[in-house]
Amino acid sequence: MNATTAPRTGPAAPAPAASRPASRPAPRRTLRPGRIVLVGVVTLAALYFLLPVYWLVIAATKSNASLYGSFGLWFDAPRLLDNLGRVFSYGGHIYPRWALNSLLYAGVGAVLATLLSAAAGFALAKYRFRGREAVFKFVLAGVLLPSTALALPLYLMFSKIGLTDTYWGVLIPSVVSPFGVYLCRIYAESAVPDTVLEAARVDGAGEERIFFTVVLRLMTPALVTVFLFQFVHIWNNYFLPLVMLSEDDKYPITLGLVTWQQAADRVPELTQYTIGGAFVSVIPLAVAMLVLQRYWRTGLTEGSVKE
């Protein structure tokens, strides 16, 4: 989200970002002691943010016994592959199933959410119609609605119409992203020129076709942002699947791992499986964040440059 919030709120959106690298004030001007403090603080912060992840990597290689019996921040008879094999096969290969479920909820949910938001944001930005501002305010109210306070009401309603304990119960609420609509509207206003739309109309293209062939392409950077945030939001969501699902073959990873963690006092080896499962679930998302962060940051500043 940050990309597009920045240009909107920025006092002078036109062209600041583009010229940045060239005219950046050189840091060498700062005083030496200040420099040491600066490096010290940013390093400490990095340690703080990375320590639990580092611990997780180390712990994922340990046996249940050395988890308790050895120093937590260094290896002790590493056996990562062996551990992961057990994580995957435990409980009739339930873990891979959870991973696929998470991927399904987050992947499908985020794609649909992005498409719906793009269409709605485009409509709000590029058409004049009666009630436009009212619709926009109505959508914005959804941004301030706390999503976990919504989980119980959703459960109450979905249990009436038989959607609980189905994939739909988690998927349908996941495709709604009022914040995505807000971002897409702001972005479409600047990134989709009216001249392009009119040229396409003159060429005889229908509105839907223009949207799918021209508009979506122009809006790509904003769409990546919306997709990324919605994906993370669904992937991280816990309350909604917790209340919606009762059969563990429909669980996402988050829900599954918590059941393992909570059962660990009865089945001790589950402690190690919880750690291994957490390790596996963190790796792909961490990589995706690092890769996407690049693309998505450049996309954001672009929006502020376009005239």
Binding site: A13, A120, F129
Partner: protein, 310 residues
């Protein structure tokens, strides 16, 4: 965005007729939005006014569902533990939100002083926890809190400290630490994006006027990232009010976390452990209202202050 409003307005002047084609693009979103966000809230409001009525002299007759008016709300607000849970998340928010945003702001400003290469690397490191689901972050920190497994406890133990992260007085702040860890980097990125939109000429002007890095940060950068700070603050307030998965996961290893530890937990346990859906619905509605009142209240407070400053 201000720059692009112009051509759009010119176009609408030419084609003054209302553009009904917009609804075709709006309809899919609005349909799901109403179905999965608005209707559930309305349904919860309706459910919150129902109650199970028992007939017969001893109350053992066939139960029926009756209209209760605001009884469930009165019942919820009459539960000391539920009211205390609101006080608890408020206290949590008053401490945790400023600490987290201050950390995010300081890190964003410091990264701005570093060469791009290093800044990029560190930014990724700070942002990484945002990709770790809250419950998994809690499981992780849970291991780092539990004596016996925790390397932190081990290291501190060498120096004669016996920290009790999960004790009655500390567990709230242990949860706060998890939330800071998860979201500080995310908030930092929002601030960084705003920092990048500050025109370079302002820095040049400040430098010519002889301002050092400190003065530039205090006089130029912080005032100009204010909108980002307001946005992150609103999101943090909403997030604090709905605190749920972190305490739920810690509950297993920290006896201090009760069923009524946060409003959301309280509603959840009413619905699923105590089988009182109607009371749970009332609590959910109260929570949603409280979150909206707080965030709107904060926004209007900020706006009023801004107006009086001008």
């Amino acid at each position: 965005m201000t720059t692009t409003g112009r051509p759009a307005r010119r176009r609408s002047g030419r084609t003054a007729r209302p553009d009904g084609r917009a609804w075709r693009f709006l309809a899919p979103f609005l349909l799901v939005y109403v179905f999965a966000m608005i209707l559930p809230i309305l349904y919860a409001v309706y459910q919150s006014m129902l109650t199970v009525e028992r007939s017969g002299p001893t109350g053992l007759g066939k139960p029926s569902i009756g209209f209760a008016g605001l009884d469930n709300y009165a019942l919820a607000l009459d539960q000391t533990a539920f009211v205390e849970s609101f006080a608890r998340v408020l206290l949590f928010g008053i401490v945790q939100v400023p600490v987290m945003l201050l950390l995010a702001l300081v890190l964003a400003l410091l990264l701005d002083q570093l060469p791009d290469r290093w800044a990029g690397l560190l930014r990724s490191a700070y942002f990484l926890p945002y990709g770790v689901p809250g419950v998994i972050a809690t499981i992780l920190w849970g291991f780092l809190y539990v004596p016996g497994i925790s390397p932190i406890g081990e290291v501190l133990g060498e120096f004669g400290f016996q920290p009790d992260f999960l004790g009655y007085d500390n567990v709230l702040w242990s949860i706060a630490n998890i939330v800071v860890w998860e979201f500080a980097g995310y908030n930092m990125l929002i601030i960084v994006a705003q920092l990048k939109s500050i025109p370079q000429e302002l820095y040049e002007a400040a430098r010519i006027d002889g301002a050092g890095p400190w003065q530039t940060a205090l006089r130029i950068k912080i005032p100009l990232v204010r909108p980002a700070l307001i946005l992150t603050c609103v999101f943090s307030i909403i997030g604090t009010m709905q605190l749920f998965s972190e305490p739920l996961v810690l509950k297993k290893i920290a006896p201090a976390v009760t069923q009524d530890y946060t409003p959301n937990l309280s509603a959840y346990f009413d619905a699923f452990a105590n089988a009182n859906m109607y009371l749970a619905a009332a609590k959910s509605v109260l929570l949603a209202v409280a979150a909206m009142v707080l965030s709107f209240g904060f926004l209007s407070l900020v706006n009023r202050k801004q107006r009086s400053e001008r």
